[in-house]
């Protein structure tokens, strides 16, 4: 058994200094050491006694946390006046201090200005207790509804995929909390038995409902109705019960990409990538197991030579950007020392980038893919290549007009390089920004890079001033989240009949019960539209830009690109 636990049993008593300090605080001057010792022993004993009684109240209050109320009740049991004025907060901010070889925990008492308390408006009345019913199980099977936890928790999916040897059936690992001495031998036997019994657990049959759901969702995702698609993606991104369908979705996406790349069907590729994004967004899914199918599909969408029928007109660049972002995200979440996703992906991109024969489209994809991986990657892999790429672009721009397509490609690569490199250069390169020096360092792109860097620096400075102010006004950018929540329950409710519906799972989750969930302001999207269309006046654009940069840095980044690509599609 754990030795530390034994250690804890040794009786700890309060230091005699505390006794002295307390005695002084009540006006007893010199207390003898002996009486201090006797006092501290007595007090320690009484405190322990009270704590033990308070635990009873905690158990009967069906809580795991001891509250000050429990201690009050325990004092009452001993016929002692409770300590008034203490409230149970969720978090009691004990502060820690050490010095002179002593450690001290103390509770910082702030002086409270009464007028502040009087003048502050009353807090919102907390919501009243209410009762909600849901099915925990139907004929022995737990339905996958938002009210129930996901069938296979994410942590377990993770351990399943990363440490397959440790995978144990839920419930088997909990071998009761008591282990008496001498059971050691038998428990080893039990474990042996368990291993014998272990079978591959995941059944790959889907229930009829799941099959229907799968059909509906996939159809909606690649169908023509945008509203349905949004709903379907919403469901993929939030539904807790999709674990069993994950293999199907993954195959669907990988096969879909394979077919549509050949057919150059840009719209479908976009839809499929959005599905990937939604799957990755789902907090209950762990995709590790399916990366072997998903990564090739995503990489295809980044670097494929051709993704659309009319490369000169269609905005396949947005798809590449989006896929590159997905790639970067999965690198961030799933890359480990064993699978080395990030380094493998980086290698792939770099190899293509170094190849002279690489097409502009692929080149663009590689750069985008690398750039999304972060500033370090840009610094080490892209910036040194700037002069080479610059020369190549110059050759296309200034040289004889070979084809319009190449020119567009070179143009896009140029702007991509400038966009990503500018901020990195702005951060790493010391002032001043001299055009000539830039030219010497970066070749053809130097001039433009210089102006971009100047702009980036200015913007950074400007943002530093204003961001604080703007964030104050936009303290609730969350609503986008709440919309997704309510959308979820609506969609799941319609899907799973026979279920007592809880209108909004949000009431369950919200930390501030008083706040009604506001519908998301769809305005954000229009703001993005306005800026991208460039219709607003410069004054507005500047303000909007702030919003956009703020919003883009948060959530609906992809919306921007898809709006853009959709509008270009329509054109």
């Amino acid at each position: 058994m754990a030795e530390e636990r034994r250690q804890k049993l040794c009786s700890v008593i309060l230091p005699t200094e505390s006794m002295k300090a307390i005695a002084e605080s009540v006006g007893v001057g010199s207390l003898q050491e002996e009486s201090c010792l006797a006092l501290s022993e007595e007090v320690s004993y009484r405190i322990k006694e009270i704590a033990q009684d308070a635990l009873k109240f905690m158990h009967h209050g069906k809580r795991r946390k001891l509250t000050t109320g429990d201690i009050d009740h325990a004092l009452k049991l001993k016929n002692v006046e409770p300590l008034y004025g203490f409230q149970s907060q969720e978090f009691i901010p004990f502060r820690f201090a050490s010095g002179g070889g002593r450690e001290l925990h103390f509770y910082e008492e702030k002086e409270v200005d009464l007028s502040d308390i009087i003048n502050t408006p009353l807090p919102r009345v907390p919501l009243d207790v209410s009762l909600k019913a849901h099915w925990l199980s139907i004929d022995g099977v737990q339905p996958a509804i938002p009210e129930n936890p996901p069938p296979v928790p994410k942590e377990q999916q993770k351990t399943d995929s990363t440490e397959p040897l440790k995978a144990v059936k839920p419930g088997q690992e909990e071998e009761g909390s008591i282990q008496t001495k001498g059971q050691g031998a038998s428990s080893a036997e039990v474990k042996g038995k368990e291993k014998m019994r272990m079978k591959p657990r995941s059944t790959h049959e889907l229930s009829v409902e799941q099959q229907l759901y799968y059909k509906e969702i996939t159809e909606a995702c690649v169908g023509s109705c945008e509203a349905k698609r949004a709903e379907a993606l919403q469901s993929i991104a939030t539904d807790p019960g999709l674990y069993q369908m994950l293999p199907r979705f993954s195959t669907f996406i990988s096969e879909g990409v394979r077919v549509n790349v050949v057919q150059n069907n840009l719209a479908l590729l976009i839809y499929l990538m959005r599905m990937v994004k939604a799957l990755m967004d789902n907090p209950t899914l762990y995709l590790e197991k399916y990366l072997h199918e998903l990564i090739p599909a995503v990489v295809t969408c980044i670097v494929s030579k051709q993704l659309c029928l009319r490369p000169d007109v269609d905005n396949h660049w947005a798809l590449r950007d989006f896929a590159a972002r997905l790639m970067a995200q999965s690198c961030k979440t799933f890359s480990t020392t064993t699978n080395n996703i990030q380094s493998r992906i980086t290698k792939t991109f770099t190899k293509a980038l170094l190849d002279d024969k690489t097409q502009w489209t692929t080149r663009y994809g590689c750069i985008a893919g690398l750039a999304e991986l972060g500033h370090d990657v840009i610094k080490t892999l892209i910036i040194p290549r700037l002069s080479v790429e610059g020369a190549r672009i110059k050759a296309v721009m200034d040289g004889p007009v070979v084809s319009n397509i190449d020119k567009i490609g070179a143009d896009h690569v140029q702007s991509l390089l400038l966009k990503h490199c500018a901020c990195v250069v702005a951060k790493t390169r010391p002032l001043p920004d001299m055009v000539d020096q830039y030219k010497a360092d970066y070749g053809y792109l130097g001039t433009m890079l210089c102006s971009h860097v100047v702009k980036a620096r200015a913007q950074a400075a400007f943002q530093a001033q204003t961001v604080n102010r703007t964030t104050l006004t936009i303290t609730q950018p969350r609503p986008t989240l709440s919309m997704s929540q309510s959308g979820l329950s609506a969609s799941s409710g319609s899907r799973t009949p026979n279920i007592i519906k809880v209108p909004s799972s949000l009431t369950l989750m919200s930390t501030r019960p008083g706040t009604p969930t506001q519908p998301s302001p769809p305005a954000t999207k229009y703001i993005v539209m306005a800026t991208s269309a460039g219709a607003a006046s410069t004054q507005q654009v500047r303000v909007l830009n702030e919003f956009v940069s703020l919003y883009l840095s948060r959530l609906p980044r992809h919306l921007y690109h898809f709006r853009a690509c959709l509008t270009s599609d329509r054109r």
Partner: protein
């Protein structure tokens, strides 16, 4: 006991209750004899003839002295008259503590005295408790004054340890049981004799050897370092007053005895003689696992003879219900075209009422309330519903509907459903009780008296007319308690609701007017649980004062006091035939009490933590109990045997319920899961041959995983209550915990 701190106050309460209890004092007798012997010093337990009488007299005198000191002269008079004690005698007794010749002189009629004395003491249970305080504590503690050489304690203990470790395996397991009680007594002896540092060293050296399920007690023990601490500590006082019971085979015992005599290890031998009760049995020594499954309680295992009393665990005959009512209802059914149903129903009705279970108590063993017309209607409803009941089994698991309490910031502490699952009550830490209607039918109050006067009492729908439509709502709040509400229970007829609270009262609420009708006072300390009898009228409550009380709704004083638990009574449950009450306690035992005479008829040990839930199987044969250690234990009531252990939960089990047919046991826990167990299989697999039945030594199959039929996680919602509807749908309830 708990009453130690404020004697005078308790005493007043006692005076009030006295006349009431006297009327049925005989029935209380044995319940209190238990506490009587318990309170008297361990010396009493010696089987010699003269000693106990003398001791009782001493006890009596102690009571008299106490009463005198508190100037309760009337009580003194009464007691003296009844006990036949002269004033001089008492005085002389008081002066020379040994008792001397005068006590023996009265010894002739001491026997007849004894019975009377006990009735008196039964009539004044509180005074018994109080008496425990001053005179008795010193008697109890004085056992320690004969001290050995303190530094030798460690030598003694480790000597015994070495010996036990060197004996044959089969004996070692049995003798290892000695470690814990010896350790505690030796430590306390050291503390009592003011060898503080030595006690500490002793504790540090050997506390690590103790079984891990004693950790909680050891934690209390390690705080005790002064003689003064011993006086106030109830847990330790119990350890002193009750002898720790060990079950050891004759061979092992003799081995031990020989060893101790050879070594002249009198210190340990004295402790064994004075503070332990060794229950010797003939036959094979028990194995480690057998011992482990039974040990763990505060005072060791139950003595075998304690569980020998006959328990009538069968069910009562179903009352016969008039045919016309039945037919009427059947006609309604027939319209739906179910002629067959009638037959099956008749059969089930008939078979139940005609066959008399040999294990059932007599129908009138406990006077039960007569059925009212509304009860009969309800019975008919019940019959009808039960025909539609789903047969559950391993292949056919119940559906579970979970009622989540949202925004219960004030802390949900107790939940109950009515038997027909139409109402739900929740007790909260903010002292309120809330009642919800979970059917579309709203809750309505009865109209005020003024309005009731104008109602035509002859009309057919008078019952409908008396209700006030304006008050219809889905839930009602009941205010009245002044502390957290720890227990709620609906009466079977859905007219009343009971709630028990930290403020020491049990309240009876009317669900017609939604007002408080009675506040039952008596516990004075927090009341942890209360439960209505399955036939209504009676109810039981248990609390921090270590007793469970049986009440009738129309008496404001308890009818029975079940005393014997060594720590808080945490949960209570009525047997389906209403003749017995089961209580679970922090002393880690479950006790079964006979309602008729207040006797403790079963002591079930084996839990390693405080017990927080109890459930009887519908046939009355089995009991399930769940504790903080996350295990459910199954008991055969007839034999008083543990017959199963269900492991799996990782936290306290707060809810247990058998399905209506007893096939499935559902358990709900703090670990946010509901688990379903195959109780039929658990009961069937037990080998109860004669040998195990007589010795009580069971081999528990370790098959929890096979018995576990289903486990359902909730989202951060601990399960507080479980209930099977009449059609075997499982309802669960708990408060969402947003962390």
């Amino acid at each position: 006991m708990a009453a130690v701190q404020d004697g005078p106050m308790e005493l007043d309460a006692e005076k009030e209750t006295k006349p009431e209890i006297l009327s049925d004092g005989t029935s209380n007798l044995s319940g209190n004899t238990a506490s009587g012997t318990l309170s008297s010093s361990p010396l009493t337990a010696a089987p010699a003839g003269g000693a106990p009488k003398m001791e009782d007299q001493q006890t009596l005198i102690a009571v008299l002295q106490f009463l005198k000191r508190n100037k309760l002269s009337e009580s003194v008079e009464i007691l003296r008259r009844e006990a036949g004690l002269g004033e001089h005698q008492e005085d002389s007794q008081a002066t020379d503590g040994s008792g001397g010749g005068k006590g023996d002189g009265d010894g002739g009629d001491a026997n007849s005295l004894l019975s009377r004395v006990f009735i008196t003491s039964a009539a004044a249970p509180q005074s018994m408790l109080v008496k425990k305080d001053q005179p008795d504590v010193s008697v109890v503690l004085s056992a320690y004054s004969q001290q050995g050489d303190p530094p030798l304690y460690q030598v003694y203990y480790s000597g015994l340890k070495n010996f036990i470790e060197s004996v044959l395996d089969c004996h070692r397991a049995e003798l290892s049981q000695l470690f814990y009680p010896l350790f505690v007594h030796m430590y306390l002896e050291l503390v009592y004799n003011n060898h503080e540092t030595k006690a500490k060293a002793f504790f540090d050296k050997f506390s690590g050897d103790q079984e891990c399920y004693y950790q909680d007690d050891l934690r209390i023990l390690c705080g005790l370092t002064k003689k003064e601490h011993l006086k106030g500590n109830e847990v330790l006082l119990d350890f002193r007053t009750s002898r720790f019971v060990l079950r050891i085979s004759r061979d092992s015992y003799q081995l031990l005895k020989r060893h101790l005599q050879e070594r002249h290890n009198n210190q340990i031998w004295n402790i064994i003689q004075e503070h332990l009760y060794i229950d010797i049995f003939d036959g094979m020594p028990r194995s480690k696992s057998q011992i482990d499954s039974m040990s763990g309680s505060l005072a060791g295992e139950a003595r075998r003879e304690v569980n020998k009393a006959k328990v009538f665990y069968g069910l009562l005959k179903e009352p016969e219900i008039e045919v016309p009512l039945d037919d009427e209802d059947d006609e309604a059914e027939n319209e739906e075209g179910k002629p067959k149903k009638k037959k099956t129903k008749k059969d089930s009705l008939g078979s139940k009422s005609k066959k008399q279970d040999p294990n059932a108590p007599q129908q009138n063993r406990i006077p039960l309330p007569e059925l009212k017309d509304s009860d009969k209607l309800d019975k008919i409803m019940y019959m009808k519903e039960s025909t539609k009941r789903i047969r559950l089994g391993p292949e056919n698991l119940p559906s579970i509907c979970f009622y989540t309490f949202l925004n219960a910031f004030q802390g949900l502490t107790a939940v109950d459903f009515t038997d027909d699952s139409s109402l739900l009550a929740g007790g909260f830490a903010d002292s309120t009780v809330r009642v919800w209607s979970v059917t579309p039918k709203k809750l309505r109050k009865v109209k005020s008296t003024a309005e009731l006067n104008v109602i035509d009492k002859e009309s057919d729908d008078v019952l409908e007319r008396i209700m006030d439509e304006k008050t219809a709502s889905e839930s009602k709040i009941l205010h009245g308690h002044s502390g957290p509400v720890y227990g709620v229970s609906f009466s079977p007829d859905r007219n009343y609701l009971l709630s028990s609270s930290e403020d020491g009262t049990v309240r009876l609420w009317s669900l017609q007017t939604f007002t408080c009708l009675v506040g039952y006072k008596g516990h004075n300390y927090p009341v942890w649980d209360t439960q209505f009898s399955p036939f209504g009228y009676y109810f039981v409550s248990g609390g921090h004062d270590r007793v469970a009380r049986l009440w009738a709704t129309d008496h404001y004083q308890p009818l029975r006091i079940f005393a014997g638990h060594l720590a808080d009574v945490t949960c209570t449950q009525f047997h389906p035939n209403s003749n017995y009450v089961a209580t679970g306690s922090t002393d880690r035992t479950v006790r079964l009490w006979d309602v008729l005479n207040g006797n403790c008829v079963r002591i079930l040990t084996g839990h390693k933590g405080p017990i927080h839930s109890l459930a009887f199987s519908p046939n009355g044969k089995f009991l399930a109990s769940g504790s903080t250690d996350g295990r459910v234990l199954l008991w055969d009531i007839g034999h008083g045997l543990m017959i199963g252990e269900l492991k799996g939960h990782t936290d306290t089990i707060y809810a247990l319920k058998f399905s209506r047919d007893g096939e499935i046991l559902a358990s709900g826990s703090m670990d946010n899961t509901v688990r379903l167990w195959d109780s039929m299989k658990a009961f069937d697999e037990v080998e109860t041959d004669d040998f195990t039945a007589t010795t009580g030594h069971i081999h528990l199959p370790d098959n929890s995983q096979e018995l576990l039929l289903g486990m359902y996680h909730s989202k951060s919602t601990p399960v507080t209550h479980l209930h099977f509807t009449r059609r075997n749908l499982l309802l669960a309830a708990g408060a969402y915990n947003s962390q």
